[in-house]
């Protein structure tokens, strides 16, 4: 009888531990807009600012309010088209975030963030919108074509 009581107590403790972790599983990262450079001309670099609506990359992150998360980017250094590369540059201030109910891309709450390093943030009730700009540098004799690459954003809870 005593053993059964202890077992029940242990299960309750486990359930209490599991509940908050289970709620953390609802974290979600979505890509809502590609980073689009549009038409480019050989030899003429083009920069997309992080606050360029419809051109800058946009992500949304949702999850448990009050939970701390880390945000990591995997950034390309080249776009590719048919075996030809075009150089890309992401600067240390090309990322911005806003956590308000109506995210403001023109004047984000967190500006000039470095996408090359882990960004740590504590989620609020409105989730998080993240923007990313960048620069493409075609060579003087850059072959024509539709160039592309991928950006991966990874969001994880820290447990704090």
């Amino acid at each position: 009888m005593e053993m059964k009581t202890k077992s029940m107590a242990l299960y309750f403790i486990i359930i209490l531990v599991l509940i908050p972790f289970d709620s953390c599983l609802c974290q979600n990262a979505n890509a809502t807009h590609d980073l689009a450079f549009g038409d480019m001309f050989p030899g003429i670099p083009k920069t997309i600012l992080k606050n360029s609506p419809g051109a800058a990359a946009e992500f949304t992150v949702t999850g448990t309010a009050g939970a701390e998360i880390t945000i990591d980017f995997t950034l390309p250094t080249y776009m590719n088209a048919g075996g030809f590369n075009m150089q890309m540059v992401f600067s240390e201030s090309d990322c911005a975030m806003d956590s308000s109910a109506t995210p403001n891309q023109a004047s984000p709450g967190y500006d000039n963030l470095d996408p090359w390093h882990t960004i740590t943030y504590r989620l609020g009730f409105n989730g998080l919108t993240i923007w990313l700009g960048g620069k493409a540098i075609p060579k003087l004799r850059q072959p024509q074509g539709a160039y592309s690459a991928t950006i991966v954003i990874t969001v994880a809870y820290t447990g704090n």
């Binding site: 077992s7 974290q27 890509a31 450079f37 549009g38 003429i44 776009m79 493409a136 075609p138 160039y147």
Partner: protein, 144 residues
């Protein structure tokens, strides 16, 4: 008297099962969630050249013997890319290689001004360049 260990074993099996579940969830959280987007760009091709290394038909964008080129375009706005020799530094070009624009001795303009002017020209019927240095000028349709 032999003690029955079945309840104890059962207890530990359940405990291990619960701990495994916790570990699984913690690993899931540590792994995080990823989202992927694309970066896209379209490099467009030129539709005309002015090349001081050639002599011939100025109407086709080649710089003639008089060191002057005329390029005809009935299309929308155009952009020019200027490449002097082996130098690809804009600053160098701006400082050292201004061009005349226009057929009737327009004032000298730095290259970025020429580029801007051409980009803003909505419907150029003719663009004329007179170069003072070896130069290649490439024309593209603009985005507008």
């Amino acid at each position: 008297m032999k003690q029955d260990t079945t309840p104890i074993i059962g207890h530990w099996i359940k405990t291990l099962w619960a701990l495994s579940a916790i570990m699984f969830i913690m690993v899931s959280i540590t792994a995080g969630e990823s989202a992927t987007i694309r970066v896209t760009a379209t490099v467009v091709s030129p539709f005309g050249y002015c090349d001081s290394g050639k002599t011939g038909n100025p109407d086709q964008g080649e710089i003639g013997a008089d060191n002057k080129a005329v390029f005809l375009s009935n299309n929308s706005a155009v952009i020019c890319q200027i490449d002097v020799g082996n130098f690809d530094s804009k600053e160098f070009l701006l400082d050292k290689y201004p061009l005349d624009i226009g057929t009737d001795a327009a004032s000298l303009m730095p290259l970025d001004s020429i580029r801007n002017q051409i980009e803003m020209n909505a419907n150029p019927e003719a663009l004329s360049f007179r170069n003072h240095q070896p130069v290649i000028i490439t024309f593209f349709y603009s985005e507008n």
